[in-house]
């Protein structure tokens, strides 16, 4: 249990050794220990620096390690939050939060950095935060694909979803030899269009001259689209046919993995990618992990598995847990829908949250951060958008938003260009941060709401406790001992899927003391007389509970024992902690 005096002492030490001297409170809030800004997208080095800074500021709670290197040699930074005064890491249920497995889906990393910062800044201020940090352990990995992240942030941003193991996408024996090129050197990979009066497939929209629209069949337009900015780098007569990477780092996990022709981009076998492998190797050494979140973008979704319909439905008891957390998530995250991946998004084989659910027995979600509806987030504006003539109609709203709220920062106007292959063309289009990544000024809300959802998810991880105990002397040295065992939270210690797959160690109820156990069983209703469901196992001092302990439930175990003195009953759940009670036989 928590010793308040000890924690106070430890915190005092932290304050003395911290980098920033705690300043006096001004205005309504106390000063932050770390005054960080949250209006930039950080590259890999900056993420590492920020994590090191936080680790130095709160060294007692934070442990920073690298799980290994990405293909490109970048550290896979992982922060652990654990209060050692309330127990060791493996004794508490763990919440693992990761992001950015797709290189271009960047903002989850900032959600995670914000989460570390928020928990630490508010540990002493907000009771619920303190309780959560004291009860749980958090594993936070801002970028699963640091190579892709830097490629997206440092370059023109095109084709950054993939990881960076070279793949021969066009089968010519060469690897990544012909990707898009920033021909005009403006830092953007644009679209190419060519003016071909009366012979084209597209025309300029009358709604907005920046819009091209496809002509109806049988009609002729004045423009053809020639793909993305680039040339034939390898002289094989084809343009941009083998860009960097060329696989999907979120199809390389170990459940329902399928070969490339069924699931594009899955590579040759699960956990072939060094990043997926490093994370899984770590997770397999932390069986206490009971919650998992993988942030992606975009669309505004709270996704759960299964990724493919062929896998069938999850067991009903697991679905109930998913539904309750998912639906509360919808209330916490306006514009986000709680969906099953295959049904609400598209079919995914070998995705990360299928593995963590099926192979590691972890209740897992994946949030698709940012929904375009949030550009115009009032009922009135949503109604206006229905009108096709409105300047914020679905066709035009992106331009409106960019014109009036981003001051035109996200769009590159069409401009003439002399292309080495296509001749006189025009190039233009949206910049990389537009569309899937939220506007910077809307980041704080996105970070905070998504953090709040993961903290709620973490709070629902199993938490075991012991309630009432009773000892009744039956005669001689024969006693009837009853112990109430409770899982205080929603998620069971072992999901039904984990039980079916045998992937989580069963819960164990052990007995110590000078006792001989005659029988043990579950009491049907401790308030009324009635039968006890006997436990038919050989080792009654080490009872296996393969089906785990359900959420928000108290069960009463009854032992008939011969003995004397102290008898200790211990309930141990790898995902719910270990609790025990001692009674005296007299």
């Amino acid at each position: 249990m928590i010793n308040k005096t000890t924690i106070g002492l430890l915190l005092g030490l932290v304050a003395l050794t911290a980098v920033n001297v705690h300043a006096q409170q001004r205005g309504s809030d106390p000063d932050h220990r770390l005054s960080l800004t949250w209006d930039r997208w950080l590259d890999h080095d900056e993420i590492g620096e920020r994590m090191q800074l936080m680790q130095r500021t709160w060294p007692n709670f934070l442990t920073l390690r690298s799980l290994g290197n990405s293909h490109g040699g970048r550290e896979m930074w992982l922060m652990t939050i654990n209060n050692p005064a309330t127990g060791g890491e493996l004794d508490k249920a763990g919440m693992f939060i990761e992001a950015n497995v797709h290189g271009n889906e960047i903002q989850g990393a900032e959600v995670i950095l914000y989460t570390i910062w928020y928990l630490m800044e508010n540990y002493d201020r907000i009771d619920e935060i303190k309780r959560l940090v004291d009860e749980r352990v958090f594993y936070l990995l801002p970028s699963v694909n640091p190579d892709g992240r830097d490629y997206f942030l440092d370059n023109a941003g095109s084709g950054a979803r993939t990881g960076h193991i070279p793949v021969d996408s066009d089968g010519d024996g060469l690897f990544d030899e012909d990707g898009p090129n920033d021909l005009n050197g403006n830092g953007v990979i644009e679209q190419i269009r060519k003016y071909v009066p009366g012979q084209g497939t597209h025309r300029i929209s009358h709604v907005d001259p920046r819009l091209l629209e496809r002509v109806f069949p049988g009609e002729n337009g004045d423009w053809v689209l020639l793909g993305r900015e680039g040339i034939d780098d390898d002289g094989d007569g084809r343009v941009n046919e083998d860009p960097v990477g060329g696989y999907d780092p979120n199809r390389n996990y170990g459940s329902d993995w399928q070969p490339n022709y069924i699931q594009g981009g899955s590579m040759n076998y699960p956990f072939q990618l060094p990043e997926a492998r490093a994370i899984n190797d770590f997770m397999m050494t932390r069986p206490n992990i009971a919650g998992f979140q993988s942030f992606h973008n975009s669309g505004g979704m709270i996704l759960r598995g299964p990724g493919a319909a062929w896998q069938g439905r999850y067991p009903t008891s697991d679905i109930r847990v998913y539904d309750e957390i998912g639906e509360n998530g919808e209330r916490m995250l306006p514009y986000y829908d709680y969906l099953v991946i295959w049904r609400g998004l598209y079919t995914v084989h070998g995705g990360s949250i299928d593995w963590t659910n099926d192979g590691l027995g972890i209740i897992s979600y994946s949030n698709e951060l940012w929904n375009g509806g949030q550009y115009f987030n009032s009922p009135l504006l949503q109604e206006q958008r229905q009108n096709p003539n409105s300047p914020i109609s679905p066709q035009r709203s992106r331009f409106f938003f960019d014109d009036f709220l981003e001051f035109g920062d996200q769009y590159v106007e069409w401009a003439p260009f002399e292309h080495p292959v296509y001749g006189q063309v025009e190039m233009g289009g949206w910049k990389k941060l537009s569309g899937r990544v939220n506007p910077r000024f809307m980041s704080m809300e996105l970070f905070h709401r998504n953090m709040a959802f993961t903290l709620y998810h973490a709070d629902q991880m199993p938490l075991m406790s012991i309630g009432e105990t009773s000892v009744e002397r039956v005669g001689g040295n024969l006693y009837r001992v009853r112990v109430d065992i409770t899982n205080e939270r929603l998620i069971p210690t072992i999901t039904e899927r984990a039980r079916q797959n045998h992937v989580v160690r069963p819960d164990l109820i052990t007995v110590q003391g000078n006792v001989d156990i005659v029988a043990a069983g579950w009491v049907a209703d401790k308030f009324r007389p009635g039968p006890t469901q006997m436990i038919d196992q050989e080792e009654l001092d080490r009872i296996l509970v393969r089906s785990g302990h359900p959420g928000r439930t108290t069960r009463t175990i009854e032992y008939l024992v011969r003995g004397s003195g102290a008898m200790t009953v211990t309930y141990s759940a790898v995902k719910g902690g270990t609790v025990s009670a001692s009674v005296q036989l007299r």
């Binding site: 022709y261 539904d323 998912g326 609400g344 469901q533 928000r552």
Partner: protein, 635 residues
């Protein structure tokens, strides 16, 4: 060619032991080969013995090299021997054959077939070492194989990953034990009025399930030999060994089964092999010796494998602890639990759950599924390989086999896209009398066990009969034993390794035959060449260049499934001129998804603008069929 009878059943009167050398590591040479290579071995070799033998072969020839692909859990090397003549086309650009043996720990014969294959290839004229490369991994599972040479032998298939088989929080805590001290782990049959089995009416060594409809009552339960070491009420449910490597690969992987590993390719041994395979796309055929067969019996007309030949005794002994996962399961959410005391952060909420939203509501039937039977267009190649195999080895009938979920050879076809084979590598001895019901068996495919109704001998009985006839001591007769916990029982059953490995004396001939088959398979690989080239001068610096690409091999440049699964890259034909100098005709780079073998051709022509008298290079490159280059002069 080998004569089956002569080779496998020499006219010896004496009973032969399967394992001639039980603990010795050394090789006993019974046969000599011509040439400077070390003599063939006629005894099973442990890790040190095999390593020595491979090293001496590899060091004795400049056409062989040896390296470790990786190391096992217990630190033994997974050896790779690469065979191919130096010089000429680089090895990694030649059509290659991959040979892997001993994936299952108890299939030690596989490693000897591979070892002898190396010897054969280095000494034979038909191996085409100048234009072919052979990658031979004799023993993928050295830790599992080592169990054959232990003081107490238990036919172990798995590698040495410490694994909690029964998921009770304890690892390897209840292994089988050699109670009667005969150095073997066999089985126990225990009188049990609640048991499911009776002694087989046709052969008292075998057991069959009691059939209540025939008025039979079970009288025995079967177990592996041993005690309940951890006192959990189950016998021998968690012994040493973790993953059966031939159930750890990616095709129809047996998810969540006890010996298949935590996930596909999870093991250091399987991963080392897989990393090698995917980096060597020139591998154009695979032979993986093991417990499954598609060589003696090729896939049927629907592309499916024949049924497994299983041992009912083994199934019965395994079944003795399958109930273990039912213990500790308390249904109904908790055996008398009461809920509603705690509601996390939402006191009082009794949620009316509406469930996950439909979103786009995609069609559950959408999306393609992976192929699980051989493509009709590819069957002929499997049949041709099977014919060659049977012709060379004389093997017409195989012994114990099993289903092929997660097996390497299945990966080789279904995901790597090449002709890929497995077989046990030795013949079930022919039974003494001719089988008249052979046709019936083919007509009704099913899992053949020991006791079909109708009285004809099942697989198990015919196996024993054949072994008896060949003088192979494959069965340890049941003998009474006073078990410390179970009282009076009998110990006996199939002798470990006897049903999965031939007599050691057969290894030299079997090895030579399998070496010959490997070379024959290599001769069937696709081989592309530019068969013809032509230049037509149109004047004014305009020329038509034409070539004919030919596959002189037997296999196509890609099987049809290699095309379907996109696992085999198309063959590329490229003319080495700047793209803008091509006036009309084929593209600078053209691709052929599949060029059939036996001399099939594909023709290409380009009209180009170039300087008269200049030379132009045309290249063809096939992932599985090598490459070729020709130069034409524009005149």
């Amino acid at each position: 060619m080998m004569n089956n009878d002569r080779t496998l059943h020499p006219n010896e009167g004496s009973t032969r032991m399967i394992i001639r050398t039980t603990v010795s590591a050394g090789a006993v040479a019974l046969f000599a080969t011509v040439g400077p290579l070390p003599a063939q071995t006629a005894s099973y070799l442990d890790f040190d013995g095999l390593s020595r033998e491979l090293r001496s072969l590899a060091s004795g020839s400049n056409a062989a090299s040896m390296q470790a692909l990786g190391t096992s859990h217990e630190g033994r090397e997974v050896w790779l021997v690469t065979v191919g003549a130096p010089g000429g086309t680089p090895l990694e650009s030649r059509p290659g054959v991959l040979v892997v043996g001993n994936l299952e720990g108890d299939h030690v014969v596989g490693s000897h077939l591979a070892l002898e294959t190396v010897r054969y290839l280095l000494s034979s004229d038909d191996a085409n070492l100048d234009n072919t490369v052979y990658y031979v991994v004799p023993r993928l599972n050295p830790d599992g194989a080592e169990a054959m040479f232990a003081a107490v032998r238990h036919a172990r298939t798995r590698n040495a990953l410490p694994y909690d088989d029964d998921n009770d929080g304890r690892i390897d805590e209840d292994p089988p034990e050699d109670l009667n001290g005969d150095g073997l782990i066999t089985m126990m049959r225990v009188p049990d009025p609640l048991g499911a089995y009776i002694v087989h009416p046709d052969d008292a060594r075998l057991m069959k399930e009691a059939d209540a409809s025939e008025g039979q009552a079970g009288a025995y339960t079967l177990y592996w030999e041993g005690r309940d070491s951890d006192g959990d009420g189950f016998l021998n449910e968690d012994g040493a060994g973790g993953v059966d490597l031939n159930r750890n690969f990616q095709h129809v992987y047996p998810y969540w089964e006890r010996d298949a590993g935590p996930y596909m390719v999870s093991e250091p041994e399987s991963r080392a092999l897989m990393d090698f395979v995917i980096a060597h796309r020139n591998i154009a055929a695979v032979i993986a010796y093991g417990h499954s067969d598609n060589l003696v019996t090729p896939p049927d007309s629907r592309g499916n494998l024949s049924d497994a030949n299983v041992l009912d005794l083994v199934i019965a002994a395994d079944a003795s602890n399958t109930d273990i996962f039912a213990t500790g399961v308390f249904p109904g959410g908790g055996g008398g639990g009461f809920g509603g005391f705690f509601f996390g952060g939402l006191p009082g909420a009794v949620p009316q759950l509406r469930g996950a939203q439909p979103g786009r509501d995609n069609d559950p039937e959408s999306g393609r599924r992976p192929a699980e039977s051989v493509n009709r267009d590819d069957l002929t190649y499997f049949e041709a390989a099977s014919d060659a195999y049977k012709e060379i080895t004389g093997i017409e009938k195989v012994g114990v086999s099993r289903d092929a979920r997660g097996a390497l050879f299945q990966y080789g076809y279904y995901q790597f896209g090449v002709p890929s084979f497995s077989t046990q590598g030795w013949a079930l001895p022919e039974p003494a009398e001719p089988e008249e019901e052979a046709e019936d068996e083919e007509a009704t495919p099913r899992q053949r066990g020991g006791a079909p109704s109708g009285g004809e001998p099942g697989f198990e009985a015919s196996l024993l009969e054949a072994m008896d006839g060949a003088g192979i001591d494959a069965f340890v007769d049941w003998m009474p034993y006073d078990h410390p916990d179970l009282g009076s029982v009998e110990i006996g059953g199939f002798r470990p390794y006897a049903t999965t490995n031939p007599p050691a004396a057969d290894l030299p001939d079997l090895g030579r035959a399998h070496g010959e088959f490997t070379a024959r398979l290599a001769s069937m690989l696709p081989r592309v060449r530019i068969a013809q080239s032509e230049v037509m001068n149109h004047g004014g610096g305009v020329f038509t260049v034409s070539v004919a690409i030919e596959n002189t091999g037997f296999f196509p440049t890609s099987l049809q499934h290699g095309v379907v699964s996109r696992s085999v890259q198309p063959t590329t034909v490229q003319i080495q001129v700047p793209p803008e100098s091509i006036l009309t005709g084929d593209a600078k780079s053209s691709t052929i998804r599949k060029l059939d073998g036996s001399g099939a051709r594909a023709e290409y022509s380009w009209v180009i603008q170039a300087r008269e008298g200049s030379t132009i290079e045309i290249r063809v490159r096939s992932e599985k069929g090598g490459s070729d280059t020709t130069t034409v002069t524009l005149r």
